[in-house]
Symmetry: C2
Subunit: 192 residues, 2 copies
């Protein structure tokens, strides 16, 4: 017979996550080591992998939660009516996603899921991001010749493009915002 989850399990899991958050706060995501998480949490290494499929699954969890928190704030604000305000509204999101090159890589790697039952926190936030954009675009003074969902996906694509390009030394004379706005103008206000 299936037994209920023990309180102990939840405590162990919470300790592991707290330990990871502590390491991240001190040294950043890139320096996160399973060894250290386990040491701080006071568990064996095997316990870590009993709770998380692999190290990236923990990253997925933590980053997904952070992105969700940012989306909560973004959703609470009034919908932007200009591309400049839109780009500004997305700054907290792009800041988080590009806080470290490693973080951006993990996010991209986990932004899709090979199987329906593998959809993780980050992939879920990607869906939510597009939904938020779509809600904005539905009643904003932007182009209406294409469906709002396609428009939203485009905003997302350009956001990713701007972030990726911003990491590259070849193009780092411009700020992310200055790169993002021209894309948005061309996409949301053609012929304007």
């Amino acid at each position: 017979m299936a037994r209920a989850v023990q309180k102990r399990t939840l405590e162990t899991r919470a300790r592991l996550i707290a330990a990871a958050e502590a390491v991240i706060a001190e040294k950043g995501f890139e320096a996160l080591r399973v060894e250290e998480v386990v040491l701080r949490a006071g568990t064996a290494k095997g316990t870590f992998f009993a709770h998380f499929k692999d190290k990236d699954a923990l990253m997925d969890l933590i980053l997904g939660a952070r992105i969700d928190a940012v989306l909560d704030k973004i959703e609470a604000a009034p919908p932007p009516k200009t591309v400049e305000v839109l780009a500004e509204a997305l700054a907290p999101l792009t800041d988080l996603m590009t806080c470290e090159r490693y973080v951006f890589d993990v996010i991209l790697r986990y932004s899709g899921a090979a199987a329906i039952d593998e959809i993780g926190p980050i992939a879920t936030t990607f869906g939510r991001q597009v939904e938020v954009f779509e809600a904005w675009l539905k009643d904003a003074p932007f182009r209406r010749d294409v469906p709002a969902d396609l428009l939203a996906e485009g905003v997302h694509a350009f956001m990713l493009q701007a972030m990726a390009t911003n990491f590259c030394a070849l193009h780092n004379a411009m700020s992310l915002r200055d790169r993002f706005v021209p894309y948005l103008k061309a996409w949301l206000l053609p012929m304007a």
Copy 2:
């Protein structure tokens, strides 16, 4: 005094690359192991890392070469005049870049360079891809209200978006092409 590169060095390097290509041909990119490359090439492990900074640097080299080869063919063909033909023309490129999930991940990770002197083969091809697109767009019957380089970057962004989405189980009812064309129409032919 600086001495010329020995023929031996070039031979060793060629053997390593050939061994890697052989493994990839047999088992795919994902299954590539430095151990096996070194075994087949008849060198020590340390030799591998004397020739390539790390395993990913070899991937960068091999994938960069393959992308370049595809771009050569693409450039040789006449410039597309419709979005459908454009999407069709890019199929060999998207096929290569998405032949394996791991390959796509490596390409994204190496598509930018943190420092000018770190620009590798894949990052170089990304620049070239946009140049090819730009050349096409310069005298094609598409929108002219935005600069050709911005338009080309947009095509690239949508190509990446279409590929990424195509890997995701949430959206795999549609072919990459069917996902790509609507983006291109909305981007290149607004209001049409």
